[in-house]
């Protein structure tokens, strides 16, 4: 099977000419790597030096973030709330946010995130949303400190830095909330739901337990205009007709 040949073998065996693919591409310069190698790992590899206080971060937040996330990170206008309470000292102690089990509670960013590095990494590469990669490293530390304070993970006088961020990690409320107990990483991983390929007189449940209520019939627009205008599969006119 041609498609299973290792890539290098692939190139080398096809022609008697010396295949100098090595000339394709060139070594990256150190400055280039520095410019693009901006990721921060959970063990903080990649985290640049710097620092920022909660109060400095509040200023950055008001000027650069609040218009979308709200003064206290709880706005739902542009995106789901970053913080909204629902985190307790018991959570910080256990590393599992209990409110995640309650279907009536909104699940905010700070309730879910297990690794503070994720927040540092993401704020630096993507925020503000309409001006990404414009914050200095110190500003990122500062605004992250502010965000952590909103979630009661650090106090109001905290100064976040490369040197103490590991301590913050130890207080992340959901730091133990992630599990790798599943079969969806490896292609031959073991599935968690085992169904049977029943063919006759199967009992999988044949009672309708949910359907879209009549008042929502036109919630996605007139379905007649979303299907082909001819053929066997034309659309229901959800504006004009109710289902007889």
């Amino acid at each position: 099977d041609n498609n299973k040949t290792p890539a290098a073998e692939l190139a080398r065996r096809e022609s008697p000419y010396v295949l100098t693919m090595d000339a394709l591409g060139r070594p990256a310069t150190p400055a280039e790597v520095t410019a693009w190698d901006i990721d921060v790992r959970p063990d903080f590899a990649g985290l640049p030096p710097g620092q920022g206080s909660v109060s400095d971060g509040e200023e950055v937040w008001i000027n650069r973030c609040a218009s979308c996330h709200g003064d206290f990170g709880d706005s739902n206008k542009f995106f789901s709330p970053l913080v909204l309470g629902n985190i307790t000292e018991a959570d910080i102690a256990s590393g599992h946010v209990a409110a995640l089990k309650d279907p009536t509670r909104v699940r905010t960013t700070l309730m879910k995130v297990a690794t503070v590095s994720t927040l540092w990494d993401y704020i630096r590469r993507a925020m503000p949303w309409n001006d990404p990669k414009s914050l200095s490293d110190d500003d990122v530390y500062a605004v992250l400190a502010y965000l952590l304070n909103l979630a009661y993970i650090v106090d109001g006088d905290y100064v976040l830095s490369k040197d103490n961020i590991a301590e913050v990690q130890a207080r992340m409320p959901n730091r133990n909330g992630m599990s790798d107990d599943h079969g969806l990483w490896k292609v031959d991983g073991r599935p968690d739901v085992v169904a049977e390929r029943c063919l006759r007189d199967c009992e999988l449940g044949d009672k309708v337990s949910s359907s879209i209520p009549p008042f929502a019939r036109n919630a996605h627009g007139n379905l007649r205009d979303q299907m082909r205008i001819f053929g066997p599969h034309q659309g229901i006119n959800t504006v004009a007709e109710s289902d007889p």
Binding site: P27, V33, Y122, K207, G235, D243
Partner: protein, 401 residues
């Protein structure tokens, strides 16, 4: 023009006016070649377009547009109808300026231009891409009316590009230490994802081609990562960097989102693989069957673990199942089209499809998924889909228990 709309009604005994009166296009000169140097669909197809689901997201740049599966055929997705999922909008990258960097656990960090990449050996492979959140709104209950919204974060194309394994080899990957790669995009979001080194060295592709031409801007022009079988967010668009590492990176889009909430309050993390799934695309929700009789029932099946082995279809809410015909070629980690005949007797009927893949895995019912994962898992909803054909002919999205 009653006969135009209802072909079976004969206005008089002589026959259908659509035949007896020659249409204008049979009696005139048509349009020149290259009227459209880049062609477009017929104006009569304008109802088939990608659409947002109202209220799904707060902004249009962090949002989804869904493919109109209800009007599609075969396994290939028309590139103009390919679904979108962006976190910070899509961008128009100048291909002359774009670069790909490879760094990390390699002998030599490298930079490639598009010229470099297009000079290298390439492969062309047909693969599906499915967002992990596809069908996510249905975890709790029937939420949306048509297959475009229930399943439309799904597309399939022939991708062309350089095997990632070849690029890693060219950079001198340290295979004794490499366990993961980080893929990073050049857009505003700088989207990053951790990818299993096995996947990276197996069938992952650094792709520039899609269905015979370059990628579309919305799909990552001029370069994207293709990770067959993995959820769409791993297929980083506007790919600018690959880092080889020995630990996972816990990026935002695998730590705060794309994590699967379980009933005990834990989240499963790094759930990359899209498990086997199928759906009937016609008849499907929002359609209306106009008469009894024979219908070809058609749909799609796929698996991130291999090939589709079989698709069974039920017409009686899952009590009895019949083997559908698979259209070939049946390819690994690609969409497979299935078809089966059905005689509609005018009564209410509930139609379902269920795939079995090459690993032996059988697509589960919604109830079985919920028993293990609860109702708030958000992602990886690969449940059997049910469509109820009512006596009126209207088809609706229902869930069974």
């Amino acid at each position: 023009l009653a006969s135009v709309i209802a072909p079976r009604a004969l206005a008089n005994n002589a026959g259908d006016p659509a035949i007896l009166e020659l249409p204008s296009w049979s009696r005139s000169l048509g349009n020149p070649v290259a009227s459209r140097p880049y062609g477009m669909p017929s104006k009569y197809e304008s109802n088939l377009q990608r659409r947002q689901s109202p209220g799904l997201t707060q902004t249009a740049q962090s949002s989804v547009s869904f493919s109109p599966l209800q009007g599609m055929f075969g396994m290939i997705t028309a590139s103009g109808l390919h679904f979108e999922r962006h976190h910070q909008g899509w961008v128009d990258v100048d291909p002359r300026r774009h670069r790909l960097m490879i760094n990390g656990l390699v002998k030599t960090a490298k930079v490639f231009s598009l010229e470099d990449l297009m000079r290298m050996p390439s492969v062309s492979r047909i693969h599906f891409i499915e967002c992990g959140a596809n069908t996510g709104m249905e975890w709790g209950n029937s939420a949306v009316p048509t297959v475009q919204y229930t399943h439309g974060m799904l597309s399939c194309s022939e991708f062309t590009g350089v095997p990632l394994s070849l690029l890693l080899e060219q950079a001198g990957i340290d295979k004794s230490r490499a366990k993961y790669i980080l893929a990073e995009g050049a857009d505003g979001s700088g989207m990053t994802r951790t990818i299993d080194i096995d996947r990276a060295l197996d069938d992952a592709i650094v792709a520039y081609g899609m269905n015979g031409e370059m990628l579309r801007p919305e799909n990552g022009y001029p370069l994207r990562l293709v990770v067959p079988g993995a959820q769409g967010v791993s297929w980083v668009k506007w790919l600018r960097r690959i880092e080889v590492g020995d630990k996972p990176y816990a990026t935002k889009d695998e730590s705060i989102h794309y994590v699967d909430l379980m009933p005990d309050g834990q989240h499963r993390q790094y759930t990359s693989i899209q498990e086997a799934k199928s759906v009937i695309t016609s008849p499907s929700g929002g359609q209306k069957l106009l008469s009894k009789g024979f219908y070809n029932v058609t749909g799609l099946a796929w698996s991130g673990r291999g090939t589709v082995k079989a698709v069974d279809v039920s017409f009686d809410a899952g009590r009895n199942w019949y083997s559908a015909k698979l259209e070939g070629p049946v390819l690994p980690k690609a969409l497979t089209r299935f078809n089966i005949g059905w005689e509609w007797d005018g009564q209410s009927a509930i139609l379902q499809s269920r795939v079995t893949d090459s690993s032996g895995y059988v697509q589960p019912a919604m109830r079985q998924l919920r028993e293990v994962r609860g109702r708030r898992s958000v992602y990886h909803n690969n449940a059997i889909q049910s469509w109820r054909v009512n006596a009126s002919g209207e088809v609706e999205n229902v869930q069974l228990s």
